[in-house]
Symmetry: C2
Subunit: 328 residues, 2 copies
């Protein structure tokens, strides 16, 4: 009998989406958020679960756990160009959790919500044997500004906000007990790209968009399958984070492998017509955020990575839950 | 240092609500759902977590686990008079969960969603060491039909849909290995009162409403605190479920204690002006559901229970998570 560990998270979701009936939803399972029609707007809804086993390193502070839970949910709203409306926070906590732990956790969650213009509006609290948090974020976006995962066209360029490898560098620091606060923040305190998502959506030129939390390679494979296109990525154009570059030359870290395959960077991956890129880049620059072309959408349904004169198929090694082998 | 087990779930939620910032929400923490303004409607959102430890007896089938997760969330929508719009389902499952378990669970969730006119529109899947499910339900209600927890007035009558003690009887059957399918359904397959909630809301006479999932006594204490009123309950008027009555006379079960204090009956508890009761009752009768007066709202801020000539203070013994002592 097949186990979830054989299926992997992605296949499990595919499996689920085949069972469930379709409702009156405008955008259903398979995008960053579900979307419902509300006049000329979409109501966006998304949920993400944070488990002790997968997301919470022992050194993570309760404040950071709270921040993280809200941030990863807001990131899904940002990927659709949405403005957040509210957050529900569900806390599964062991009986012996201290009041101060709960206090700090909620403070962290509240800080992330308010920093991005929204609030914790409800939730649930239950006793569990391990820490298990679940957030649900709601938001709205004008229908014609909604950035779907579907719509990438051959000839479009593919671009990414900010830099990659912040989470990988943070993970490396955790593993090697390197106590650099900024580096650790890269994995423990991700920043959702809310204003960037809203600004990109307003341009109405983005043909597809998703957040890159599963890692660049995994995200590209998901976009490829949905859009029946391919991608050619220019390895040298990938914007590497400063934190990751600091570890260049270390034996047990391959900078590009980490930037490409490691999950946890809550950046936006978007496709858009090449003629529109400069304007989009300028708009994000005003928000203090870079937008970098990393390749282009191809008709040929392959994902290749070019490094000077070498061209290779990009492997799909993004982190997935339930998989028998984690990335490292 | 205080632990969550000292606080209890309700105090934990109070504690949380003091920390978080207030957003643009119309109704926030403390009601069955949060509500946002959307033109002349409210968007209702609610979430409930189902944990292996608290909610999932060993004999519960995966189909029932799925049904249960959706049902308890829809119940919160029904308590506000809402029509469900969609469900997000978050599954925390152990690695060795079988594909057939997942399939049955999703089928049960889907069945409950479709039966009440809605659908599973998204979710999340994560690896956890124990089963941990979280549902989020969305719905809408016309603003002037919204049934708040606040609004009960002295003189109003207090009424309940259906009958009480179905879950208690199911629990007793589980504990005593009594394999009566219908009795077990009382705890394992609760039925959310969606059409009843919508119908009551349309009357626009309900002054306060909540679902009774925490038990009658606990629910009354919550309404009392919010409304600064009291209640006088007529013990003999409490509609006892047939399943519970079958166990009358058994040594280890006190019929009234179980009906009043045991949680898990997903019925609606409403207050309304006494002159409006007959009409509301007629409307629910058309849906095949009883509405029974069980007492009245008093100015005096006490909750008393009358049994013939005896009048006592009703104890608050509803089930709460994190508490050191469970009900039985």
């Amino acid at each position: 009998m097949n186990k979830l560990s054989d299926l992997g998270e992605r296949k499990a979701i595919e499996f689920i989406s085949k069972i469930v009936s379709k409702g009156k939803v405008a955008v259903g399972i398979g995008d960053d958020c579900a979307a419902f029609e509300f006049g000329n707007k979409y109501l966006l809804v998304t949920t993400d679960m944070i488990s002790e086993k997968t997301h919470i390193p022992k050194t993570m502070k309760p404040w950071q756990i709270g921040w993280f839970t809200v941030a990863v949910n807001l990131s899904d709203i940002s990927a659709k160009g949405g403005k957040p409306l509210g957050i529900l926070l569900t806390l599964g906590l062991p009986k012996d959790t201290s009041e101060s732990f709960l206090k700090e956790l909620v403070k962290g969650a509240d800080k992330c919500a308010t920093q991005f213009g929204t609030a914790i509006v409800g939730g649930d609290t239950k006793e569990t044997s391990e820490i298990m948090l679940s957030g649900t974020a709601f938001g709205t976006v004008q229908k014609d500004e909604f950035m779907s995962r579907k719509g990438a066209k051959p000839g479009d360029i593919i671009a990414v906000t900010g830099s990659l490898g912040k989470a990988a560098a943070g993970y490396y620091a955790l593993e090697h007990n390197i106590k650099n606060k900024e580096t650790l923040k890269g994995i423990l305190e991700p920043v959702p790209r809310i204003s960037e998502g809203v600004a990109l959506a307003k341009t109405e030129v983005v043909t597809s968009s998703m957040d890159i939390s599963d890692g660049l390679s995994s995200s590209l494979y998901q976009l490829q399958e949905l859009n029946k296109v391919g991608f050619q990525i220019d390895k040298r154009k990938i914007p590497l984070s400063k934190a990751l570059l600091k570890f260049q030359g270390k034996k047990d870290i391959n900078i590009y492998e980490h930037a490409i395959h490691f999950g946890g960077d809550y950046e936006l991956l978007v496709t858009l017509p090449s003629g529109e890129f400069n304007n989009a880049q300028k708009i994000l620059m005003k928000l203090g955020t870079t937008l970098t072309t990393i390749g282009r959408v191809t008709k040929e349904k392959k994902i290749s990575i070019v490094d000077g004169k070498t061209k290779q198929i990009l492997k799909n090694k993004g982190y997935e839950h339930f998989r028998k082998h984690a990335l490292f």
